[in-house]
Subunit: 241 residues, 2 copies
């Protein structure tokens, strides 16, 4: 089963990763224990091949008979649609940040409900994207405050997100990424070369201090796929391919 | 001039209270120094008379020839309108919290631009409302975490909000408030009696640890008005009325 959700649904209350562990261990409502699904998050700037790798991970999991749901942020829900609209129109950076977090909070509940049913989740962009993109945007302003907005954004997620079981951060040459998405020479906010350099540097900085992140940096996308599938096999408790 | 805004506009970048002080002291763009407006926030549960008191404060400031803008949260902007829609439909509590913060971030920029023009702002509900309402909603879940969601929400505002120069917290008997808004016996999420008791207790708890908050607790609304106008006079540098 491969699904793409249109709008968050379901309601499992507000759960942290630990709550979900507890809930699943206990069997909610006194019911039978359910296997816990896992979350694999794909991160990186546009043009690194996240979507292709996500797709291959899903195909691989399906071949291993693991029911997998592919999803992405921003979502197609009401908040996600508003994000797409306002980021095109231009928006205050904090408004943008909190809209992404609002959309994610809804998404977390949606994913939790599906994980409880035993599904694995492959998520194209997750919390690290907010820290890298919106954090980079705030860095200049925050320089005078002596605080790190990237760390601040990650920290704000801790009470309520579900930490991914695996985060794959794909890094690549910025120009090659811009070429791939056909955006070289364009200068919208999220696509400026210097901005993307700093976003990618911040992605790498977060990866150093966050558990469960694997950084892949290979010019050959198929080599990346093989490396990621090796990690997925390890998660399934099999020997690496 | 009394205005009610329809949608946030203007762009002064992302400013903290300190940034604004600096900006105003320096005269932005090398221009002349501009007088700084002030923010007066009105807080409390529905039915305490916030709107009436706000109105009287505005009339008083106008009589003192202080250009004043009355505004409220959630705003009438795109995010504020989404909040009104999703809270009626039911929404994840974290999504709700971050939507209020997204709306507020936009509102802060809008208010900052008007303060720079010398206006005073009277704001019906501000950050403390998120801490009291959404914080109360999260308390039960957070009990096991040993963390305080009310303090967490206030803390998340500090890097970017403008702290009010005066916050007036009006407290009153819950039943009297429910009677005033004609909602006694109703049981929507924001109107349940036991919930409102805890919201009001959290308002009072925040007031104890926050600068510039005056708590008014008087059965006579006109007495409240007189007390608040005394504070406003003190802000204007006049003797109390």
């Amino acid at each position: 089963m491969m699904q793409r959700h249109d709008a968050p649904e379901g309601d499992v209350g507000s759960l942290s990763s630990e709550d979900i562990d507890e809930l699943l261990a206990a069997g909610e409502d006194g019911g039978p224990m359910v296997p816990r699904g896992k979350i694999i998050a794909l991160e990186g700037i546009d043009g690194t091949g996240k979507s292709h790798v996500s797709q291959r991970v899903v195909e691989h999991l399906e071949a291993r008979e693991v029911s997998t749901i592919i999803t992405s942020e921003p979502t197609e829900g009401a908040v996600g649609r508003l994000i797409k609209r306002v980021t095109e129109e231009g928006v205050d950076p904090y408004t943008e940040l909190f809209l992404f977090m609002a959309d994610r909070a809804d998404h977390v509940q949606w994913m939790a409900a599906r994980m409880r049913e035993g599904n694995w989740i492959v998520c194209d962009r997750y919390a690290m994207s907010s820290a890298a993109y919106q954090g980079t945007y705030l860095e200049e302003e925050w320089e005078t405050k002596g605080r790190d907005p990237v760390a601040w954004i990650m920290e704000m997620h801790r009470p309520w997100w579900i930490a991914p079981d695996l985060t794959v951060l794909i890094v690549d040459d910025i120009d090659r990424c811009l070429d791939r998405v056909g955006k070289r020479g364009q200068a919208t906010k999220f696509e400026r070369r210097d901005y993307l350099e700093r976003v990618q540097a911040n992605y790498l900085r977060i990866a150093e201090t966050t558990d469960g992140v694997v950084v892949v940096d290979d010019p050959d996308l198929e080599d990346i796929v093989v490396a990621v599938l090796g990690r997925v096999e390890a998660m399934l408790g099999r020997s690496k391919v």
